[in-house]
Subunit: 470 residues, 2 copies
Amino acid sequence: MKALLDQLRSIAGEANVLTEGDLSAWEHDWRKRSQGKSLAVVRPATNMQVAQIVQACAAASVTIVPQGGNTGLVVGSTPDESGTQIVLSLQRMNAVREIDAANLTITVEAGCVLQAVQQAAQAEGLLFPLSLAAEGSCTIGGNLSTNAGGTQVVRYGNARDLCLGLEVVTAGGEVWNGLSSLRKDNTGYDLRDLFIGSEGTLGIITAATMKLYPLPASTLTAWAAVPSLESAVELLGMAHRHLGAGLTGFEVMGQFALSLVARHYPQMRVPLYKQWPYCVLIENSDHESDLHARTQFERLLESAMEEGLVTDAVVAENLTQAHQLWHIRESIPLAQAEEGLNIKHDISIPVSRIPEFCEVTDTLLSAAIPGVRLVNFGHLGDGNLHYNVQAPAGGDNAAFLREWEERVNTIVFDSVHNFSGSISAEHGVGSLKAGKLLDHKSPVALEMMRSIKRALDPNNTMNPGRVIRA
Amino acid sequence: MKALLDQLRSIAGEANVLTEGDLSAWEHDWRKRSQGKSLAVVRPATNMQVAQIVQACAAASVTIVPQGGNTGLVVGSTPDESGTQIVLSLQRMNAVREIDAANLTITVEAGCVLQAVQQAAQAEGLLFPLSLAAEGSCTIGGNLSTNAGGTQVVRYGNARDLCLGLEVVTAGGEVWNGLSSLRKDNTGYDLRDLFIGSEGTLGIITAATMKLYPLPASTLTAWAAVPSLESAVELLGMAHRHLGAGLTGFEVMGQFALSLVARHYPQMRVPLYKQWPYCVLIENSDHESDLHARTQFERLLESAMEEGLVTDAVVAENLTQAHQLWHIRESIPLAQAEEGLNIKHDISIPVSRIPEFCEVTDTLLSAAIPGVRLVNFGHLGDGNLHYNVQAPAGGDNAAFLREWEERVNTIVFDSVHNFSGSISAEHGVGSLKAGKLLDHKSPVALEMMRSIKRALDPNNTMNPGRVIRA
């Protein structure tokens, strides 16, 4: 191993091969579920260095865990406990290589922080619409490796939908320059989308060309109380019809989830949640004017009230108010943490079946665990719920997790399965769900995934054990 | 072979295994460039029958050419001349299985004609936006296998972008049920997008779940003359800013292309083309009202005229006029055929580089072939040009093709390559461009494609020789 470390130092530079001191920033996962130990953390600066590192590790039969901002939620980018894996951090590869405003594209290196990509676009009067809670520290390479979702998927799609081309270092240590900036290119198999979402198990994304959009003239946010989840789904359909592509966000938040924010962050003043089971947050982006956006929004909300889909609503008067409303939504996970440990899910269900899914699954959980509390919220526009399960009030949260986590997961995932849903909507598989995947993915799909893994990474050196297990 | 044919008859029924009579509808390609000969044309009615046919052919070492509407332009869905291949036609699998309006999805079998999918959506007040010239006869399975593009890609993307889930019969004769109707699902490798665009070389798409959108309240079409291709590109950027997602079509048409329509179809009354090198066709889809759409359009065109990007323009007064304008655009290929055989291209270039590409390539061609005529038109919004090359006036078209096709292709494709473009934007590879791909795709990408082909179709029974050659 000494020879390999020397080789890595000669490739990336002495200062960029870390083997001593506190490496927890690279070795521990974001949610502190796993504390791994690496042989070294290597921080290359160029795609050629990445290729050389991959070649050196392959020659030494050392496996590689690629890492971006290490903000993943499924233990996909930290090493195992063996001390034999290399963490290959892309953080130093953080250049914006090119913005082509007339082509509406930006080419960035994998280690670019998401917010930096958004800002680079904005400086040219353009929008890069991928947006999620970790945007201040997650990287675009990680976003692509996990096909990140977030809050604007209802309009702009997931990370995959925003990507036109990739540069990848293959498991064989070659650089594939697939940095196309074309909207149409039908010359062979879709390698791009195969690497996107493969969580570093097939190769290492080192750069990407992403789509940009014109900045909207106005972005407005409304907060509405709805009498039921059925009404929320109907309101979503109405919002699609009224706003068309102006509908850039549609979040749902259950009463208990909001009550946790109100309890733990009383300064936030959560509106309208006390009498109604759910509230929704709607975002309208308009290419004409603020006035036009407001008129459209008011028409939508009036129609919704007439039909009884909305019981009360506020439209943010200005950007500050809009940020406050979004901040409430984004504080739910933190308020939940304040309340105590809980069992988290990141599921998706066809939008039309969400009310029935929740009714059925709530009932199953309440029957199994009297007094159980459901922190239900998420991106309703995408059918994506963070359907989290909290211990009954006053219980011992840690004991609840130990006793119930596995059984609760089984109840929820089986129900997701029955409703043709997904057990991982936007967070990916990592180590955390690789076992569950074997139960919930079709054997035909699993076998195709294994064939592809063997074809592109025959020695299983790239992030082994993640996503697909042999 | 007799035993195999008997087996196929017992699977699909006597009447659905065609071996005699005129089979040219299945054996000759759309553009009549290739006249193949099949062992049999088999027309299954269910995915289970498809699976059994694949198994039977595998056991007999007979290769399969999947076929939809047989409207492809690159000889990808007709058999070779050996008389040993099976054509597997999906045309009898043409059911609309489900429309879920609240989920904005439709599930259809592969043999559904594109227009039938559009109509099924419209009957529910919804839009299925894929639209292209062959929509009356091409099938959704073919559209997905070739990742079809068309006229609304600037807003809604290619066929790939409209698909949420697939049902596929694998090369091993298994049915993969991947008919997800979810907007977010990060549970493993993107098998869906691997099959999409693989032109039947990895498996056979038997059904798909596709995205739907709300029907716009109004769709308006404008026709504008522009002083140059640079102006057309600037106008496109302005249209993005003014109309946002309302911009659902942006076509460009060169003066010579339009003059051919005017010459061969004088009844069509081509507007505004005589004094200006290019005209553009712009479509604006609005979710509010006809009045709003018109106001938006007028503002755009006024701004463009003020900045000298547009010299003259008309907005269609009604749907009939709009159809007339689109009809002119769609008649260019036919007018070209009337003028005589020509050398067709389907290329894409980053939008920002299109003016320079055309200038450079026009010059190269004119230098090589004095008097050569360029029929340049296409989907400028997607950077996709049908940059076709017609013999000098009065020349012998057939002789021109014989003498020049290969050399013209080399000039154009090399130039495309220099401008980071694609030699097949929307038509795919098929047999016609499989050889060219070897020159213009990166060796790293080609080797990954070969690995994937070997992994998923180890005996090379699915549409062999298409897309990727060994």
